[in-house]
Each structure stands twice: as C-alpha cells, then as structure tokens.
C-alpha cells in the first residue's frame, strides 16, 4: 500500500491521545494525587491532539463536505464505527475536562468519566485496528496482532507523553506511577510489533499471478498492465520507496519508537541522580514522534495488496 500521510498522522496522534487519557484515568481511579490544574491541562492537551487527528482524517477524504454520511453504515463498516466512536471519545474527554475544570461532583470527575474514557478509548483502538484487520486478503493486516499493535503503540506513546508532562509540571506522585508504566508499555509494544513485523516478512501470499488470472502455466509474466502510464491502481497500492529506504524506515521506526525511548526511560528510572528530571522524558517524546510516523508508514507499506499482481509491468 502507498501510506497516506493523513491516515498516519490521524492514527498516531489519536492513539497517543488515547494512551494519555487512559493513563490519566487509571491514575485518577487508582487514587494518585494529581492537581486539578494539571489534570485539566493534560486533558486539554489530549483534546487538542484528538481534534488534530480528526482534522487529519478529513484530509484523507476526496469529498470532506460529505463526511457526515460516513456514520451511516455502522452495521457493516468498521470505518463507519470509528467515525462514530472518535467524536464520542472527544466528547467524553471534553466532558471530563469540564468536570475537572469546574469541579463537578467527585463521582463524575473521579470515577464515572474516567471509567467512560477508558471504555471509549479501548473501543476506538478496536475500531481503528479492525478497519485494517477485517480485510481478509491483506494478510499482513488480517491478524489479531494488528489490534495488539494499535492498542499497545497508543498506550506506549500516551504513557510516555503523560510521564513527560508530569515530570515537566512537577507532578511527582503521578510520575512515580506512570514512569514505570510507560517503560513496561513501550517494552510490550516493541516486542509485539517485532513479532508482527517478523510474521509479515515471512508471509507467503495466498494469491499468485496464476490464481489471479486462472492461467496455470508455471512461468507466467505480465507483459502489459494495459496502459502506457500510471493509474489509480499504481498510485494507491505501491509505496515506491527504494529497498534501502524501506529497510531504513523499518529499523528507524523500531529504534525511535521503542529502543531509544526505552533507553531514556531506563536511564531516568535507574541511573539518573534526579528521577524527577524532565529532560529524559522530553527527549523520549521527541524521539517517539518520528518513530511513530516511521512505524505507521511501515505498517501500510508492508501490506502487499493482491491487486498489485495485476499491475506489474507498464506499457
């Protein structure tokens, strides 16, 4: 597939916002002392990130003015379900922010809205991942690891971001809880992502040129795709990166998203003289931003669409 920048930005930005909100909600439910001003600020950050993701998703549409129609087919389409759950999640985060900001009842801001936020965040991860995992003939995606990768990558990037803002704002109690959680989430996300990448690299596609054309000859090559230049089929489904760039983005994504941030966190947790220093956490976030983009780019680029069998040779 040719990775669409709008979809990469949307899924990574929304995923990190979901992870941030889930980290804040779990800390709130666990009774961690968080100042109301910090909680409101962190929720506002998640809210803005989600709005940014929503904006990016609009850029993917050829006809954005008709976007409202995308909520119609929730009975059959995971994309439609995501279109409903994303605004719902933005709404829950907004309500929680309001409840914290204007000091609503402790049941609302301390229990019900955090619980709701966790539930809707999980649902959103599920919908987003199922958009890809439900396409049975894109075998790189049609696997439970897609759900695991989307959820854990979001949790990892969100908890690291949460730890960074907590360290920066001097929220010691929250940092003590969220810092080890961020390290564990990053480790788990990295391991499961490597599992998925290795599985996909070893995949032998079920469709072949023989099954695509029904011509049984052992040697079968295309001599013309039927046009002298490109078409939608050649633009949308081929990433067109050189083999070297492809490998570098794969390794770069793993390093920037998982390995190097984990090293920063290990240093902050176990080697630093001042465990509350914000610098290693901010560096981890800055490393993860390009790491998220590279890893998500690779998620799309690695998927070999069966239609590509029909578009091998121009002329």
């Amino acid at each position: 597939m040719n990775p669409a920048f709008s979809v990469i930005v949307f899924t990574t930005l929304a995923g990190a916002a979901q992870g941030l909100v889930v980290a804040l909600a779990l800390a709130t439910l666990g009774g961690v002392t968080i100042s109301a001003a910090f909680l409101a600020g962190a929720l506002a950050l998640a809210f803005v990130m989600l709005l940014g993701g929503l904006g990016a998703s609009f850029l993917h549409l050829g006809r954005p003015e008709r976007a409202w129609r995308a909520a119609m087919m929730w009975r059959t389409s995971w994309l439609s379900r995501e279109v409903i759950v994303l605004p719902a999640f933005i709404g829950v985060v907004g309500l929680w922010w309001l409840a914290v900001r204007f000091e609503a009842g402790p049941a609302w801001r301390g229990v019900l809205l955090p619980l709701g936020a966790i539930a809707v965040a999980a649902l959103l991860w599920y919908c987003t991942a199922m958009i890809y995992a439900c396409l049975r003939f894109i075998e790189e995606w049609a696997h439970p690891l897609t759900l695991v990768n989307y959820t854990l990558t979001g949790l990892a990037s969100g908890t690291v971001l949460c730890a960074a803002v907590a360290a920066w704002a001097g929220e010691g109690a929250l940092l003590r809880v969220v810092a080890p959680a961020a390290l564990v989430a990053t480790g788990l996300a990295g391991v499961t992502r490597v599992l998925a990448l290795r599985r996909n690299a070893a995949l032998k596609p079920r469709s072949t040129l023989q099954s695509a054309t029904g011509i049984a000859a052992p040697r079968l090559v295309q001599t013309s795709m039927g046009m002298s230049a490109g078409s939608f089929n050649t633009r949308e489904f081929f990433h067109r990166a050189t083999p070297l760039a492809y490998r570098q983005i794969r390794i770069g994504g793993l390093l920037l998203l998982f390995a190097l941030p984990a090293a920063c966190m290990l240093w902050a947790l176990f080697a630093s003289r001042d465990p509350a220093a914000p610098a290693p956490w901010l560096i981890a976030v800055l490393l993860q931003v390009p790491g998220l983009l590279a890893d998500r780019w690779f998620f799309f680029a690695q998927a070999r669409h069966p239609q590509n069998l029909y578009y091998q040779v121009v002329s």
Partner: protein, 274 residues
C-alpha cells in the same frame, strides 16, 4: 467480526491436533442436526451473510479469441464518460504522464517457456462479485449491490472518496476519479442494458457491443439456459482468485489447445501447463 475470531480460533485449534479434531467433529455434526433450511454450505463461511440473488448479470470473457485490440476499453470509456457514470476524467492526456479513469483494462500476459510461449490478452473489469467485499466496508452506503440484477454500483452523490472500498477489492477493479474525487467502477452499462428506448440488440454493455471477435458474452449467470451459463458450464468457465470466496459473477473461459491431425504429442502450451 465474531465469525472472524471464531475462524481464527478454529484454525488454531486444528493446529493443536486433538483439540482440533473435537472442534471439527462438532462443526461437522452441527449442520446435520439442524433443520434443512438452516443448513448452509461451509465453503461460504466468509460470505455466509451474502444472499443469493435470483438474477445476476455478468460478463464471460473468452480468452481463446481476445486479440488485445482494446476496442472494449475505448468503447467503455466513450460510453461511460458521456453516460450516467461520467465524466471519467483524464489528466495530462497529451503530456508525458497521461492518466485517467477507466472501468475496463486489457492486460497482456506471457505463459510458458520459449519456444512454447503463449501471449494471452486478459480484459479485466469489475467482476460484480456475488459476495462483494467492497460493499460492506463502505461507511456511507454509496457502494451497493442491486438486488434486481446483481450489479455492484457506486452512488456518486453519496461517495466521500475515502478509498476504503478500493482497499477492500482484491482485484483492483475500482478507480478513484481524480477530478470528481469519487470512486468509480464498471456499471455493466446499467444505463444501456435496461434502456427501453434502445433496440433490443443494443441493450448490452458497450464493451460487448464493441468486441470485434465476440470474446465478451453478457447475460444472467443464474439462468441455466442463458448463453453465459452454457458457456461457463460447457467450456470450464472459472472465477479469479477463488481463494477469497468473493464468488465473482464474471467468468473467464480458458484457452483450449487445438491438436493437429495426426499429432502424437500435445501442443507445447499444453505441456507447459501440466
């Protein structure tokens, strides 16, 4: 989704051996115990929800006689750019990198090893699957399959251009119109075949009318006496990528070797195929 998880668990259970045998046994006995109306063939497990229509229009393409002249491509483009599906835009039509929207492409393949090679011209358009994977994924309902004749269509006024249906089609049958930013695809010339104003002989897709060798047959594959049903039945008509259970309505007729009088060995092409 639940079916997908079930299948996943089932495939893992089979790998486990003993557990798999139990699971398989229960699967086999379940339909037998159920009333006949509830029993469904296991082969369509992926598309069990797709209903079987009484009428399914389709093309049958004879690979014996297609000469790769692209008359069906130009005829399709001409009719549809001016018809209800149009306009089908072209970009840089007279420049170095021309591109445009087409519903039908003729591709060329080479099979076998020299000197026994065969050149096969292979027209490809939407296959109007009986279980079209592009339809349920559409978030707006713009993609749909007509119950009356089985044609898969796009409502261009509802399409938001998200391209998800194109991702969900294993055949690459859908092309986004870059100018209108909506998804387009073969309509089987739905604005010709039902047009009462036209002479009955003209109520056929433009590609079928244009083909100089008669390589394209058009009709209802659910009518056992139709030209297309007879061709599929008697000449081994096959569907593309049967591994995904999309049940394409369009079929292809395989090439038949024509043995020479007195020949002792099959033709080279036949040898390569085996």
């Amino acid at each position: 989704m639940i079916r997908w998880l079930k299948e996943l668990l089932a495939s893992q259970a089979v790998a486990d051996g003993a557990v798999g045998a139990v699971a398989e046994a229960s699967l086999r006995t379940a339909p037998a115990a159920a009333p006949p109306s509830a029993a469904r063939p296991a082969a369509v497990s992926v598309g069990a929800e797709a209903e079987t229509l009484a009428r399914q229009l389709a093309l049958v393409i004879d690979l014996n006689v297609c000469v790769g002249c692209h008359a069906c491509v130009t005829s399709c483009k001409e009719w549809n750019t001016a018809g209800s599906a149009g306009p089908l835009c072209d970009e840089n039509a007279y420049d170095a990198n021309p591109t445009g929207t087409f519903f039908n492409r003729v591709q060329t393949y080479e099979a076998g090893i020299f000197p026994g090679t065969e050149t096969i011209h292979f027209p490809k358009s939407c296959l109007h699957c009986e279980d079209p994977p592009c339809v349920p994924v559409c978030p707006t309902g713009a993609s749909y399959k007509r119950k009356s004749d089985g044609i898969v269509l796009v409502d261009y006024d509802k399409c938001i251009g998200c391209k998800y249906c194109a991702w969900a089609c294993p055949y690459g049958a859908r092309e986004l119109d870059e100018e209108r930013q909506v998804m387009t695809k073969c309509t089987l010339c739905v604005d010709r075949i039902h047009d009462e104003q036209m002479a009955p002989a003209d109520r056929q897709p433009a590609c079928v009318k244009a083909c100089p060798t008669g390589a394209r047959l058009f009709g209802d594959i659910k009518d056992p006496l139709s030209e297309v049903s007879i061709a599929i039945r008697e000449r081994g008509g096959y569907a593309l990528m049967p591994e995904w259970n999309t049940r394409p309505a369009n079929h292809y007729l395989p090439r038949r070797p024509t043995p020479a009088v007195g020949a002792t060995a099959p033709m080279p092409s036949e040898r390569d195929r085996s």
